[in-house]
């Protein structure tokens, strides 16, 4: 006892404790300072893109009450946690007081904060994190899961449908019609028939049939002169298969024939409605595809939810949000509350760039990005998975092959660290000049970006393949399967979610890359969407780069901010998709 008191009295422990505490907080500060700096910049860019600096407190309050508060209520109801409710109310209320006082104090004592008011600060500092937190808590429970699932299906389906429709701005719709009719459709038919009859040999014929059909389509493209109208092509090649797939999916869940047929019919009718609607921004008739892609997953999901009867009240979420938005708009209109004029509005994503800030839009750049990313996705997925399968499944660890493998492995690690601008030089020298694919064409850009993200896709695919348990391989070999059969039937299906996650994350990197595009001569600004893959095009980051050169304030603080937010939203949704796929996989195993 005496000894212990001695050390306590000497003050020796005190000194080192202070040092330790100081160090602890210093290192904590270091870990959040970068995040906070980025968060502050993001707040500013969002404020600029949505013109929130000019949002009156009444406007913010109206939408907070009609839209945000019901949403928080829904999440809390789903979470069903009294303690969480208390904490949320405390955070929202205390945060209101805290933000207002802190904000006014800074304005008074230090200096005015430009382009921010305390309600906007409250929105970002308190409301957004609280909403994120309750959303996370609510999504864990059936009600919330149902609600967000129901919201996610149409949004995801519409986005995917729109992206696919955009591809037909560049790719030949009639060729696609022939490829589908002569190759994909018969091959799918044979495969399905073989699967039903248990005739493996017949199903194996599907690949040669498909190849023959695709080759025939390429030959016949210029021979055949008359084609169906484009809405019909979209309905036949996308509307019917999507409706059929939805019906099959419902049927495979053990539902009755009638309900499966109902889901299929609903999807078909929705697709049919698309023939009557037109859209200026998308190819003629592609609304068929967008509507089918929106309605089919929604109908399937609705059917499953109603069937399982779990979290049914979650289905009210879209009504809640839609009603909230309408009510907010009605109140704003009725009382004449001045509303902000956001730069990021529907016109921004559907119009071409312009010298005039108000009319400027991102549409051609979005189309360019979508096309590049589609080709990059295909190329880097095939190459990345192929290389990863070789490195993980086919190669040996010893001997000459082992040596070569090690070299390839080191090489991939080094390629991942080569600056992107050097890849741009590779694209310029090799694809644009030597092979003559043209400056700034979608082909050159896609090839360059595919090589750029190839190391990342290979490394992530390798990790996914490596995480497949070895027992599965041994079991497959034990049953007499060859290496390819084991890879195709056991390893790849098991590793697919991991591979997809890695590929999507890598594509996120590709969509934001600018330097290689500049080096290969991509246009900074094009005023119409490209007509084919050999024409010069722009991409979202290129357009942002071009606009950031404009000295006018409307561009600096308006148009570019809207472009940046669009790019960030695209990136965020890609990463969210990757995370959702990963979580599903983790839950599955």
């Amino acid at each position: 006892m005496a000894v212990e008191r001695d050390t306590a009295d000497s003050g020796f422990g005190e000194v080192s404790r202070i040092k330790g505490i100081a160090f602890r907080y210093l290192s904590f500060g270091a870990s959040v300072i970068g995040i906070l700096a980025l968060a502050a910049l993001l707040v500013y860019v969002f404020v600029d893109a949505f013109d929130l600096a000019n949002a009156s407190p009444e406007w913010l309050l109206t939408y907070f009450l009609t839209l945000v508060a019901p949403f928080i209520g829904f999440c809390l109801y789903s979470a069903g946690d009294r303690e969480l409710l208390g904490r949320t109310v405390l955070a929202l209320g205390g945060g209101l007081l805290g933000t207002a006082v802190a904000f006014e104090a800074i304005e008074l004592l230090v200096r005015p904060i430009p382009r921010l008011t305390w309600p906007v600060a409250y929105l970002f500092v308190v409301a957004v994190p609280v909403v994120g937190y309750v959303l996370f808590a609510g999504a864990q429970k059936p009600v919330g899961r149902t609600g967000f699932g129901l919201l996610g299906r149409p949004v995801g389906g519409a986005t995917l449908g729109t992206a696919v429709a955009m591809l037909f701005i560049v790719f030949d719709m009639r060729l696609w019609f022939l490829v589908y009719t002569l190759g994909i459709f018969p091959a799918g038919l044979v495969r399905a028939y073989g699967g039903l009859r248990g005739a493996g040999r017949l199903a194996g014929l599907s690949v040669p049939i498909g190849v023959v059909g695709v080759v025939a389509a390429a030959f016949l493209r210029n021979v055949i002169r008359t084609y169906p109208t484009s809405p019909l092509i979209f309905a036949w090649t996308f509307g019917v298969p999507i409706a059929f797939a939805a019906a099959t999916l419902v049927g495979s869940r053990g539902a009755s024939r009638e309900s499966a047929a109902a889901v299929g019919v609903v999807s078909l009718v929705a697709a049919g409605l698309g023939t009557t609607l037109g859209s200026s921004a998308l190819p003629d008739g592609s609304t068929v595809l967008v509507l089918a892609a929106t309605v089919a997953p929604t109908a399937t999901y609705l059917h499953r939810t109603v069937e399982s009867g779990e979290g049914l009240s979650g289905l009210a979420l879209p009504v809640l949000l839609g009603g909230g938005a309408l009510a907010g708009a009605a109140i704003v209109g009725a009382f004449g509350i001045p509303a902000p004029d956001p730069w990021l509005d529907p016109g921004f994503v559907t119009e071409a760039p312009s010298r005039n800030a108000v009319e400027a839009g991102l549409y051609p750049a979005i189309v360019g990005s979508v096309i590049i990313i589609a080709i990059v996705a295909l190329l880097s997925f095939v190459l990345g998975v192929g290389a990863a399968v070789f490195l993980e499944e086919y190669t040996a660890d010893t001997g000459i092959v082992g040596g070569i493998t090690r070299i390839i492995q080191i090489n991939i690690a080094n390629l991942a660290a080569v600056p992107s601008v050097v890849y741009g030089l590779l694209g310029l020298g090799l694809f644009a000049n030597l092979l003559g694919f043209g400056f700034g064409t979608a082909v050159t850009a896609s090839l360059t970006l595919s090589l750029l993200i190839l190391p990342i896709t290979v490394i992530s695919a390798q990790e996914a393949i490596r995480s497949v348990p070895n027992d599965l391989r041994q079991a497959s070999y034990g049953m007499g399967a060859t290496r390819w059969q084991t890879t195709k039937n056991v390893v790849l299906p098991e590793a697919l979610p991991g591979i997809l996650t890695g590929t999507i994350l890598a594509l996120g990197r590709a969509i934001g890359e600018t330097a290689p595009l500049i080096m290969i001569g991509a246009a900074t600004t094009v005023f119409s969407a490209p007509n084919d893959v050999w024409s010069r095009f722009s991409a979202m980051p290129m357009q942002i780069f071009a606009w950031s050169d404009f000295p006018q304030a409307e561009f600096r603080y308006g148009v570019v901010a809207a472009g940046v937010v669009t790019l960030l939203i695209v990136l965020l949704s890609m990463n969210a998709t990757a995370i959702i796929i990963r979580n599903k996989m983790e839950r599955g195993t």
């Binding site: 870990s31 499944e393 086919y394 991939i412 030089l425 590779l426």
Partner: protein, 324 residues
Amino acid sequence: MSSGTEAPDLQRSSGIERIKETGYGGVFVACAAVTLLTTIAIFVTLLSDAFAFFMQVPATEFLFSTEWSPNPLGGGQVFGIVPLVIGTLTVTITAALIAIPIGTLTAIYLSEYATSRLRSILKPMLEVLAGIPTVVYGYFALVYVTPALQATLFPQMSTFNALSASLMVGIMTIPMVSSISEDAMSAVPDSLRQAGYGLGATKYEVSTGIVVPASLSGIASSYILAISRAIGETMIVVVAMGAQANMPDVQRAILGIPYIHPGDVLFDPGMTITVSMVQIAGSDLTGGTVPYDAMFALGLALFVVTLIMNVLSDLIAERYREEY
């Protein structure tokens, strides 16, 4: 049990199956070969045009001339890499001064202090820092950071300057330092920490006196990788730093020791190697001209430097790794 499943399937070893097997193997080898071919293609592309460049411009001028003017305006074309190197060094050093201390402290906090729950929140958020497109960082630097710095700390700063670009490069490279360093620190066995506590050390002493020295090789290799990333960074500096290849005034301190005042390089526009490449690409792409070839010479310099740094980082991590 039908008899069909019990009979061994001898079809598998038939000729067609074997051909199929070899064929697919060949496809995978080809995919893996693409990665090797990429490296070879980079080397060949860069070397061939860089060779053409050095046929026309002497290497001594490239390495030692203090003027960079690829587009002749009045005078002749001069290709001296020195001002570009100074610009690149300015950005790299400033960014390293931000990323290295912050990244190291972050790694220590994540590996030694943070609860696993906090770590699972902080780590993805830090990864976001590296995931934001660099052109967006450049826009932030130009439109938000520079005006903020002008209004508060440095009124003499020009619209395009090296400082705000470097700040953003620094923030972007924080996760590179922190994640690799943290991996190295987490690999330090717990027995070492327990031994430290047993000797009466505090958590601070264990962290800085045991964990950091034990993982020094990993930390050093993370620094080198981050610096290599900062050297190759393009869009942030293109957007925010302007494009003037300036030579800063060399001033004389007491005893005539030459030095460069940081304000001269940080507050003014500058040009890095990457910026000059982008600038040439914006004007001249058809090939065959000297500036076009100069672009590849610069690319070669960049490629070689980053390659050496990556290999060095690997070597350090391998050679000096403490084996437990």
